[in-house]
Point group: C2
Chain length 396, copies 2
């Protein structure tokens, strides 16, 4: 505990944030230096590296994540093996900065989500929401010789929250303005928005998952190209296709997209099962190839815009929308989204000083900075938790 | 982190140790007060309670533990639901002592093992041993408002150990003598031995799982009585049966029983699969009813004794064997074991000042005491780890 309690007393902290999303492409590792805490903290990125999943490991994670195939023995082994893989990712960032692990103060690891149950499950009369992230932090701590904070979602769930989204706290620190409202729109595997009213204390903040991000687009591209492409490069496939309006309208009936926040999505909502339904509908409507890519891209854009129309704008009309995540690289998606946002200007996160790729991992490094100082990192208005709680488990 | 770093500075600590074994009968909660650390620490038990598993929850845990039935969605939910159940168990001990949770300094929770893979698994070229315990500590911390240390096995595995046995450290503190060698024989679901040479520094210590404990006996009793009995009361069923020597000899060929330490067993070794083989052999040899109970009881006793003959006595002949765990209540088993130990005196753990039932939970409270003080709690000679490590993850 000595090395951990020391951390809160340091003038500045070098922290590696590790993040791997639902798309299971790569672990992002962002090494950043933090001074102070809360809204007044200073930060700078020292290195950013991505550590791509080997195909076989990605497959193992995807199998482990589905209720029909995720078995206890694989989960048990995968937890430790992902720990090794995350340790490699952290080391990569440390070395890219020209540093040694001994010069790092903390690793803050999100882990790999393999399941998320936002609805209560009942067993023997006990009921609970739940979420499960793998990537054993003890392995990371042992390989690097650096303390680790990990499993940042579970305490919020224990306090009655959804355990997600957790980025709003970081969004406030990084982007909140005194005089104008800002919306952060992340388009990763899943899409989520954080609305930051001007000078908000966090209570007026609105944050939720809007629905699919790149998850469906990627799955359709994978099918269409017989596995040759894993994503639509800059939206070029969609741009050369025709949007099928009837199919978009049908998809827009999705209950998750229409539901009021708080809400949180995962592979349970837009994974294999949704994809199967989509394939059936597409076959039925004879929508295929780039037309289908264009159609799911339109659905993705419109599902985001519909959530702004229903839930964001009535709460507080943003003066600008800052887009981050892989989806911000999809020009077709960005154009459709801009059209549907009825005059609210779209900018990319780079235009606001943060590298898009590094944003999520930076956010989790920032959350780790707060946790070791005993500062709550959840935003109850975003997660639905009963109170602010200090996030994570500490491994010395 | 404040409340955690404060803990190391306290003159004494009130700690609830929570333990639930492979038999999934009940969570044991031992509230004890500790003064100091290491071999010189003082301890006294303030309360001990068992919190029996509801049948449905037990069934869910057993299903979740088997590779063929343990699915990711159930594991995700069960982790949180076991957290609620463990929190109840801890509260029960706190109240039994006439205290409030705010008067407790720490909960140290072993969790419920749902899988243990002592052999390396390889995924995508990465290989690791692994172990998986459920019972979300964030839920315990949130319900009681008390810091929690949990997941005490994983760091040892990360350091190259088996993650088990972890009781040897506690055994040293509780039972080691300056002038004579002591063996602690635990007969829980699985049986394990800790040999403490006189005045040992821990390096000469020998500790390993010897094989089945009550796990097979309980399974056979359950079958024989059509589910009416879950265990053989004081060994009375076995005592009224006849041991089938041929079947005992056949079972004694089990590779785990004969293997040299370090070795660690679980439901993987003596669970459903072993029980199926046993049933087939019993059917084949026409061994049934109380004769079969007597036979597996004899196998259990002899598998322990065989490990003494092969691995314990050649290392250091114990001056006495202290028996603990449910098996110490089985008079038939104790008599057979005593006969097979060739003159080494057997005593129960109560005769040495520790209530048998409380011993495991007390040991994990004691390990938590060491962890919050930054003192390693594994014994590398017992687990095979490359070095002593501070055990557990901390939830503030």
């Amino acid at each position: 505990m000595k090395s951990l309690s020391r951390l809160a007393l340091l003038k500045s902290r070098k922290i590696v944030g590790l993040m791997s999303g639902t798309s299971v492409d790569a672990v992002d590792a962002c090494l950043a230096e933090f001074e102070g805490n809360g809204m007044g903290m200073k930060w700078r990125i020292l290195a950013f590296e991505t550590h791509p999943f080997p195909a076989e490991l990605r497959k193992a994670v995807l199998e482990a994540s589905e209720a029909s195939t995720g078995r206890v023995d694989q989960l048990c082994a995968l937890n430790f093996i992902l720990g090794e893989f995350f340790a490699e990712a952290a080391l990569k960032a440390v070395r890219a900065a020209g540093l040694k692990p001994t010069q790092i103060d903390l690793v803050s690891s999100h882990g790999q989500t393999v399941h998320h149950l936002p609805e209560d499950r009942v067993i023997a009369g006990y009921s609970s929401r739940s979420t499960l992230q793998l990537g054993e932090p003890s392995v990371i701590a042992e390989r690097l010789g650096v303390p680790v904070v990990a499993d940042l979602r579970v305490r919020d769930v224990a306090a009655g929250g959804l355990g997600a989204p957790l980025v709003p706290y970081a969004d406030r620190v990084l982007f909140q303005k005194h005089d104008s409202a800002v919306a952060l729109q992340n388009i990763g595997g899943i899409s989520n928005v954080t609305l930051l009213p001007p000078g908000s204390s966090g209570k007026e903040l609105l944050a939720f998952d809007t629905g699919p991000g790149n998850m469906l687009i990627d799955a359709v591209v994978h099918d269409t190209t017989m596995g040759e492409h894993l994503f639509d490069p800059e939206g070029s496939m969609a741009a050369s296709g025709q949007v099928d309006r009837a199919l978009v309208e049908r998809l827009m009936e999705d209950p998750f997209v229409l539901a009021a926040p708080p809400k949180t999505a995962g592979r349970e909502n837009f994974g294999r099962e949704f994809h199967r339904t989509l394939s059936t509908l597409a076959l039925f409507g004879r929508v295929k190839g780039n037309d289908l890519v264009a159609t799911v891209t339109a659905f993705t854009a419109e599902s985001i815009a519909e959530n702004y129309r229903r839930y964001v704008v009535p709460h507080w009309r943003p003066d600008e929308v800052i887009v981050c995540g892989g989806g911000s690289q999809n020009a077709f998606l960005m154009r459709l989204l801009s059209e549907k946002l009825e005059g609210i200007p779209l900018v990319t996160i780079e235009q606001r000083g943060v590298p898009s790729k590094a944003k999520e991992a930076l956010s989790f490094a920032l959350l780790g900075n707060e946790s070791v100082c005993g500062i709550p990192g959840n935003v109850p208005a975003a997660t639905g938790a009963s109170r602010p709680v200090v996030l994570g488990k500490f491994v010395p």
